[in-house]
């Protein structure tokens, strides 16, 4: 057996460690949270965030960035609470169309060599406008099957935990284990070598965007399942949350270094950080600031760890 721990494992330790510490602190502050219902309450809103984070991660794995994630998830939520319930067939078609739209964005960005930041900034206005058109006031209702799915009570572990694990495993299988995932990450790591092996980078990028679209659509559906209805502004925070989640989970902006398990952990950590701050009874004035501080601390830890890793390699 080797003693050397792989870089991927090291990359996962910090997020896993911060989640564990945070969870311990929450249990200590609020022992009631240490139960089936407690865990579900702590984590169920992390499920859509985790899905959105995976979507963002897919985009980041081809060295792009999506600034429209929040508005897109909001729009999907609006579609879910209206079309998908009232006319499931049309609803499903619309959602499929949205996934195609994402793949098309990937193609346009690649072909015209456009900066993804600006294109997605523009798209964020478009999605927001569509959402306001669809639901001028909050409303709609979650389809019953979605609601049933999100409020299921599986044995042993609460839905939130089961869902997080399922998402992590599924994303891990797609991104880390499948050929497609390898190809997508390869584009992020060294586009030229992928080209030299005879693959189409255009197709790989389109696939990454399309997959991201699928996960973002799932995020919107899951969100409506929890909130029971939608509004046009429901998920605006998801843009920045998802980026922060990927980074917290050990992902990087460039180089195709991403970790789906880490991303899910990152999303859970961010959600838990909110609860932790409210259990701490920090003055509401400083709650936002504390979120910023936590972000900085975890990222600074990452730097420290990268240094250690680099020193190990130097030997």
């Amino acid at each position: 057996m080797r003693l050397r721990i792989s870089a991927d494992a090291i990359r996962l330790t910090i997020p896993a460690l911060s989640l564990t510490i945070l969870l311990a602190a929450v249990f200590w502050l609020q022992p009631r949270a240490m139960s089936y219902i407690g865990l579900n309450l702590l984590f169920n809103l992390a499920v859509p965030i985790a899905l959105a984070t995976i979507a963002q991660m897919l985009i980041m794995s081809v060295n792009d960035l999506d600034l429209s994630m929040g508005t897109f998830v909001s729009f999907v939520a609006c579609v879910t609470a209206t079309f998908l319930r009232d006319a499931p067939l049309i609803g499903a078609l619309v959602l499929a169309g949205l996934v195609m739209a994402y793949a098309a964005l990937g193609i346009v960005i690649h072909l015209r060599n456009l900066p993804s930041i600006v294109v997605s900034l523009g798209m964020s206005f478009v999605w927001a406008g569509l959402a306001v058109l669809l639901l001028p006031a909050p409303g709609g209702q979650a389809p019953d099957w979605v609601r049933a799915l999100m409020t299921m009570k599986p044995p042993l572990a609460p839905m939130a935990i089961v869902a997080s694990i399922v998402i992590a495993i599924l994303a891990h299988l797609i991104v880390m284990r499948s050929s497609l995932g390898v190809l997508i990450r390869g584009v992020g790591g060294n586009q030229r070598s992928v080209e030299r092996a005879g693959w189409s980078v255009l197709a790989a990028r389109a696939a990454a965007y399309g997959l991201a679209g699928i996960f973002a659509v799932l995020a919107g559906i899951a969100l409506v399942g929890l909130t029971t209805s939608a509004d046009a502004n429901i998920a605006l925070r998801y843009t920045l949350l998802s980026i922060a989640g990927v980074i917290l989970g050990g992902g990087e902006f460039i180089g195709g270094r991403v970790s789906p398990v880490g991303a899910v952990i990152g999303a859970l950590t961010l959600t838990l950080a909110g609860s932790f701050l409210s259990f701490l009874r920090i003055s509401p004035d400083w709650q936002i600031g504390a979120q910023g501080a936590i972000l900085i601390i975890v990222l600074a830890l990452r730097l420290l760890l990268n240094r250690i890793e680099a020193r190990e390699k130097g030997r």
Binding site: V118, L121, V126, L130, P136, S283, A290, G292
Partner: protein, 316 residues
């Protein structure tokens, strides 16, 4: 002939054409009667986007990945603290301005410290910073709307020779920014850094120093805009900057500044800021709703970037 051709190639020409079209379409509704009023209103409100947009433009000039998301929070904090300090007294105007500028400097220093010392990507560094700054703004006066000193309130809301005073201030700042960018060594430096950081280093440019100054400059302009906006609208509100997050980025991009860095221009900021105001006015005038307005804005941003930005070396 050749002058016209050269004008046609300017990066800012698109935003000015769009502005003119929208302006014309809006005044035609009243058969031209609203020309003066609309122009004045556009100048007034574009002024604030221009000031924050200029700062953001300098940051974006630094090259891919450079962006300042702490602009809205900085505006809010500077506005609230300055108005609280001035406490409706005309005598305190200068100290108020000073504190606003100091807040800008502090935020800028914090931003670059996070970027450089902790190697946090600018987008996340400035975001984290903005959370802290926003908290500080909530903490300082808990959302009470303190009125500006009467002199400032009058000054910011009135006009000189038919030109709104805030627009005159924006013009002065723009001239200064234009001068910095086109005439000074510093302007050359940041443009060089934006085109290629290694090349800039090898040409002997103090890269870190220039980037640092740029982030501080952006934050100071944001705090100035916050100060003026709070005086103009009769008091600082905790959410007063939120509109300017996307706005500041959008006016830079629409104005023809290269997102890949190194190439920026001041006239474009004016064109784009006027355009962003006028397009809302036009859609309101035609009775179109918020949804259509947002969709049009997004489509326009994407069209402009497709027209102007495709296939540049090193873009993305």
């Amino acid at each position: 002939m050749s002058a016209l051709a050269r004008l046609w190639r300017k990066p800012w020409i698109w935003s000015w054409i769009a502005t003119f079209v929208v302006w014309f379409a809006t005044i035609m509704v009243t058969g031209g009667a609203s020309t003066l009023g609309l122009s004045q209103a556009a100048l007034t409100f574009a002024a604030f986007s221009i000031i924050v947009g200029l700062g953001q433009m300098f940051v974006i000039t630094l090259g891919p990945g450079n962006i300042d998301l702490s602009v809205p929070a900085t505006m809010t904090l500077a506005g609230t603290v300055a108005l609280k300090l001035m406490n409706v007294e005309n005598g305190m105007i200068l100290p108020g301005l000073l504190i606003a500028v100091l807040i800008g400097i502090a935020v800028g220093v914090g931003n670059y410290a996070l970027i450089k010392a902790l190697r946090i990507p600018p987008i996340i560094a400035t975001l984290s910073m903005s959370f802290i700054v926003q908290s500080a703004a909530i903490w300082t006066n808990r959302g009470l709307r303190i009125k500006p000193p009467s002199f400032l309130a009058d000054f910011t809301t009135s006009s000189t020779l038919g030109v709104p005073n805030v627009a005159i201030i924006a013009l002065l700042i723009s001239l200064f920014a234009w001068f910095l960018l086109e005439r000074t060594i510093y302007g050359r430096w940041i443009s060089a850094i934006g085109q290629s950081m290694p090349a800039a280093k090898m040409a002997g440019i103090p890269v870190d120093g220039s980037r640092f100054v740029t982030y501080v400059f952006c934050a100071v302009l944001a705090s100035l805009a916050g100060y003026l906006l709070a005086c103009f609208s009769g008091g600082a509100a905790l959410n007063m900057g939120s509109e300017y997050l996307l706005m500041s980025i959008a006016v830079v991009v629409l104005g023809g500044t290269a997102v890949a860095g190194g190439d920026s221009n001041v006239p474009g900021i004016w064109g784009a800021s006027l355009f962003m105001f006028l397009v809302v006015s036009m859609l309101n005038t035609y009775g179109l709703g918020a949804g259509i307005r947002l969709i049009m804005t997004g489509l326009i941003i994407i069209s402009v970037i497709m027209l102007a930005g495709g296939r540049q070396p090193g873009a993305r």
